[in-house]
């Protein structure tokens, strides 16, 4: 399989990076072809300009490449921290620019045509809010955003999400356990060919 891994978090050496690198490693071990994007490291520009909205717009080559990679992939691994119940702006802008109407989905006479149908996705997020508070106070917005608003829109129905918390309170042993869980999830969702 071809799997696209995207991380939207700043500092190299962060636990988010450990998660993404663990996923990349496990995917490689399973024999999959991996495309990896560290949006901060690459300086991805998250601002969708007005002239990029038309479905026949002349695309920035970087955005064009991202679109082609999304279309060519059999699955996705997304890694980011929970900032205000949403991804960091750099990843929000990757969604705005890359998950394009007319490319990833379009409105047809019989409803929405979903061009990513049949793909699978794993979204791994991190936070410091206790799980109970996240569910009771905020309703865990990231679950709905990724599952229904984003991947649901483009036809990715095989969807798994795992949130690790609290990062700030975690021990090295706990974090090692979480990385092991990432390895297991990756093996289950993207089994060796």
């Amino acid at each position: 399989m071809k799997v696209l891994v995207v991380i939207g978090h700043q500092p190299p050496g962060s636990f988010n990076h450990a998660i993404a690198e663990t996923a990349v490693e496990e995917l490689g071990t399973a024999g999959h072809e991996v495309v990896y994007h560290d949006l901060y490291a690459e300086g991805f520009d998250p601002i969708l300009p007005a002239d990029e909205i038309p479905t026949d717009a002349q695309l920035d080559p970087v955005v064009r490449r991202h679109c082609d990679e999304v279309l060519a992939a059999d699955g996705y691994v997304i890694v980011h921290p929970n900032w205000w119940g949403m991804p960091p702006a750099i990843l929000k802008g990757w969604i705005d620019r890359v998950i394009r109407q007319g490319t990833m989905y379009q409105f047809g006479p019989d409803g929405i045509v979903q061009h990513l149908a049949g793909r699978r996705a794993l979204v791994v997020t991190t936070s410091n809010t206790p799980r109970e508070d996240e569910l009771q106070l905020y309703g865990d917005p990231l679950e709905n955003l990724w599952k229904n608003c984003i991947f649901g829109m483009v036809g990715v129905e095989e969807f798994t999400r795992r949130n690790f918390e609290s990062i700030i309170m975690s021990s090295p042993e706990q974090r090692e356990g979480w990385l092991e869980e990432v390895r297991q999830l990756v093996r289950e969702i993207f089994p060796p060919a």
Copy 2:
């Protein structure tokens, strides 16, 4: 009152701009002091760098000014389209960078200290999804994000949101009616001194 108006949408001449300009006009008529930010027009950089996270970080002067304006304001009007159940990345990044821990809220021994308590907010959003679908399929994420995750976190309890839809299907008469509704909402929430 001092009121901060922030719009996160691209093209001048859009209905979002008409909403924001209507709010600014009505606030001025009511005798309020208005600070207006069109994030796209100003080229606001939405990417939070790692070294800006510490509460004692040396801030970019633009971010410092935005923070000062948020703290000095008695209320907020936010205007943006619904993109994937979230604000456009440029506005998401304004939240990431400006609604800073240690400035707008902080974790104290007795819980969260909310530095924007007592302020009021009006969030006006636009979309093309029929209202029923938005509620049933997606749960209207913007309501929860703005009300609970963002403004609730910093103590803004007097919160009003209005979504106008479907923009793409609307007639000029309908849009004029919506702008009149914006005028009424602004008058109610920010009455003349």
